[in-house]
Symmetry: D2
Subunit: 344 residues, 4 copies
């Protein structure tokens, strides 16, 4: 399997290169970047020295070698939408890590991303690449919209309950905490080391662009129009998202029933781990791996279920999930190339 | 004003020494500790070298010099309750930083702290030392129960709304994030550097001992029986608590009405800062200071008010608030000795 | 004493504002900045909210109010040299925190800073503002060249030995470790949080611009032409410099003689602390304070003296030292406004 | 290949389990621990949940299944020496990660470790497991003394020069910086998060127990009695050692000659990377991998060579090197199971 990675120098792109390079079946034939054309990859990311030294090329369809069957687009939002139609027209399959093909409704895209969608026809053709929900339809996809990092952590936590129709949607509050790599690799004041270490803050309260992506799948799973409250926070660590989700159930359930629901839903899904009490998810337990760890507590005093969900935002929240999708596209076992254990 | 500090080597005790040493009116006459008796203070905390070199003594009433009028108890929960009755009987005034005198109902103390209260008579006599609420009654107090760190951050965020009766209590979810110093100075596996840096986790979901303390004051302010959902999280930083509070109001309010409510409530209170939009609280902006920063957003899509509250857990959440209480006890301006600006 | 701060929004400028605002005798009348003209200071640095709200002005001599006697220049290297001559001509005294007036030899400036010095005449008139060495000549200075952060930590460690002529100069190796705030407030790739946390590196090995500054004063103190090896390192923390200095003495000295030399040299200097064994300097013990902590060990096996020196790079390494110099210029006690204890 | 890991719950043991579990040829048959006997491994280290769930047993020879050919001892210093003789007598091969068999001279062991060596006969039989130096003799070893973390970083930096006889030994100064995991997994005051984050310090100046280990191999390689100055430092990060080494060469060498010496020495050694200028080693570039990155600068002004060496202390500095040694013992390609790329 010959693949190309566009946007290879950003954090998601860099993780793609790491995972694909170690993948037993994939071969990276082309790496594209807007900013370092002509540079050897390991000069931008010296951790790859002596391991991976391809030269960076422009993110240009015409330069991608013919044998490349699959293109990973890890370009910024907006850039992908401009490029993907041509990639598809040229017969490439595409896994897009940007947000450009995640929302099926172009009006929502315009509202939350501030731009008219340049290829609205493709929105209904893209498959949302959350394998734990869409594993059956992914193998045939030409275009996979790889989920956002926050949505992955939230949706895996809520999918079983949403699917079962158990959630009182009016009660849902999602408080998410992310490491700084989620903000990308471009230096900015807010992510300058002395400005964000030793501190925690909320940002984009109630208007983060991942909200409609979360609501879209939850609405689909529950067949209801779902609206949720979502607040992202920045935590001084490189990797990891912990989502703390508060909700009430529509009817009383015993702990055993909840456990059983999750166990059945995730039976046969290798990357979702249901932690046995008293253990709760911590982002360090998934660092560098494609796992999503889930745990929950029922607060009897207030009748709320509190669900904790931890992922590595760059792996299960981006590049790892993209590789998982690639495996499904090519009929490989889902775990292929993704068996690295978390790095304490 | 001559004072003693018992439990002077823990983090709260150490902050007390820092603040009292710089206080223009207070003089530390006695420092007590269970673990370093006979040691010069700056050998335990070398940051005090050449500044403060008193010798540590046992936390024993009989050894405290007579001129000491006020004793700060920064001992662990349980130890204070054993000692305070004798201190009061000897005519000392006491500001207790433990949880032992915060709950007025001894049954609640037993439930949440797992111990029969040894001095239940004193519970109704202790004044809860949140000056922004109890400033009027503090000057006459013999025993001040200094609030917990989480409760301080939550109560200052909610007091105006609770007092006004605006909160739909069934809707309240509190998601709090704390630095590691909140766990105290004793080394434990969970707070060993490699185990807690580069990670975030929730703990004691729904059963943290600060819950009844929060509910007690909110119930008092609102004259209703308040129950809240509260989840503390551990964030890899030394100092700081950020509480993100989700709630619905009982009736529609304009942003201006909410602003006005907070402005009126905190008018004349020097340590609560209402940040102007778009600024939201971040723990780094209060680091080392006695400020509590507040900000809020209204999520129109879901009808929830999201309130952010940031304090330094060791200052406004412990030692700084204790000094603020001391100032009130002795009729000094509230800010005396507490004018240090945050240390970026 | 009315003062102005130019370059008030950078890290050194921000610390100047913090310290001067809390100084009992200084009043900040003017704050200049190239980047935020017209903005209220606390909107750039929200930690100052409700404490300091002057409006930022251009760094322009003509706008500085007449009563201002002293101007702190915390502008980037190069900008100061352009501005200072006019400030002096207008009768202002200047404490310059840039490197522009630290080297007395304009040829050295050109070599290490890559620019012909625009005001070479002033170089011999500037007083190097290391009070522990130049306290006697500082009161009369019109222009003070405030030392660099690395030089301060190194020079305070070596001054007593250099002055006594005890150092075998050929043996001196200086290995310094700095927090990230030393790199300034402008975001750059190398200081983007995910790029510098959880890592340590050396940089500018053998060619850092602070080398000639260190050698100049050591040469002056020892009356020899001193050349030293100096390697700076970047450590994932906000504040602090730890310099580890290796050298051989020209003759055998007992530990007592070394102690005595340091004690005599620093007798009456409030900010240098000679830590008693077994304690060695750690940057956390000086955080936020103007202290320089020194300690040493003699490695009998190799005949080397190993000296450790810790400062807060933004305080004793920049703004605190500038305020100390201001106190000397105005005949105030050296510690005025600098008595804040380290913030653990 | 069936193996056992004793001391499996410490950091080195935990890395061994991670690497061996992913090794294509090794099978972990037995995990021993003094502290968690009877517990499932993933309950101690939840990152292994659903991946590795063996039950912890006592570190007792009699319980180790017969088919186990190789035992990794990751027990504390002292414990290994008591156990290893019996393991060898029972026909097991042993890779010992403690310091117990690294020094060939029992008197040195007694001096630096404060204990009479219980099995001095074995010292001369153990092979020092630095494959880049001892690759030829390792395949036949019954007992491998796995090098310390600091020695690995230092020896790989100096071996080519030592071997060539180029070093002026009197000039060697080694300044090493380590992450906190090097101190082990037991919580202690000095490694409590609030005590060691945001700070840097030196420790055990001139008397660290890794000094004789470094000197022993350098003396062997150079056929001279080598004495070096070594100062370890603690840096607030989990993993990584950066050693900065200062020395003078006995004769003038061109940069090309130095490069050539290193290239020849490390030709065919897959884990030592000679970084091309201007790149210098940073610990983040080797994180989680078995690489040792080397770089150097010549300081013409002082005639010193400055060599930088970076490893992950838990991988190349402990568990990874042990697996590399295992591969050599069993005639496998050296990289087997060690091809994981660094985790940014």
């Amino acid at each position: 399997m010959k693949v190309a990675v566009l946007g290879a120098t950003g954090y998601a792109g860099c993780e793609l290169v790491r995972l694909l390079h170690q993948h037993p079946r994939a071969e990276i034939e082309y790496i594209g970047s807007r900013s370092h054309v002509g540079t050897t990859y390991h000069l931008v990311h010296p951790q790859f020295f002596r391991a991976f030294g391809l030269e960076l090329q422009p993110p240009d369809l015409n330069l991608i070698p013919d044998p490349v069957e699959l293109v990973f687009c890890a370009l910024p939002h907006g850039r992908s939408a401009d490029l993907v139609p041509d990639l598809l027209a040229a017969g490439k399959r595409v896994i897009d890590l940007s947000a450009d093909f995640r929302l099926r409704n172009p009006a929502l895209y315009e509202t939350w991303y501030g731009r008219v969608h340049p290829a609205p026809d493709l929105l209904s053709k893209a498959i949302y690449g959350l394998p734990e929900v869409n594993r059956e339809v992914l193998p045939g996809a030409a275009l996979v919209a790889n989920p956002g990092c926050y949505p992955t952590s939230v949706l895996l936590a809520l999918a079983p309950l949403a699917n079962a129709g158990w959630i009182d949607w009016d009660s849902v509050v999602i408080d998410a905490k992310s490491g700084v790599s989620g903000a990308g690799r471009s230096p900015r004041q807010a992510f300058h080391f002395p400005e964000c270490t030793e501190s925690v803050k909320a940002y984009r309260v109630g208007d983060h662009q991942h909200i409609p992506e979360i609501e879209q799948l939850l609405s689909h799973l529950s067949s209801e129009a779902v609206t949720i409250t979502f607040t992202p926070h920045l935590v001084p660590m490189i990797r990891g998202i912990l989502s703390t989700i508060y909700l009430r159930l529509r009817q009383n359930c015993s702990p055993g029933q909840i456990d059983q629901l999750y166990e059945q839903f995730y039976d046969g899904h290798p990357f979702v781990r249901l932690l046995p009490p008293p253990q709760l998810p911590e982002t360090r337990f998934v660092r560098g791996s494609n796992f999503c760890d889930l745990g929950w507590r029922f607060d009897q005093r207030t009748g709320r279920l509190v669900i904790l969900s931890a992922i590595d935002n760059l792996v299960k929240g981006a590049a790892g999930q993209a590789v998982q999708n690639m495996n499904l596209l090519f009929g490989l076992p889902e775990e292929t190339g993704l068996t690295q254990l978390p790095l304490f």
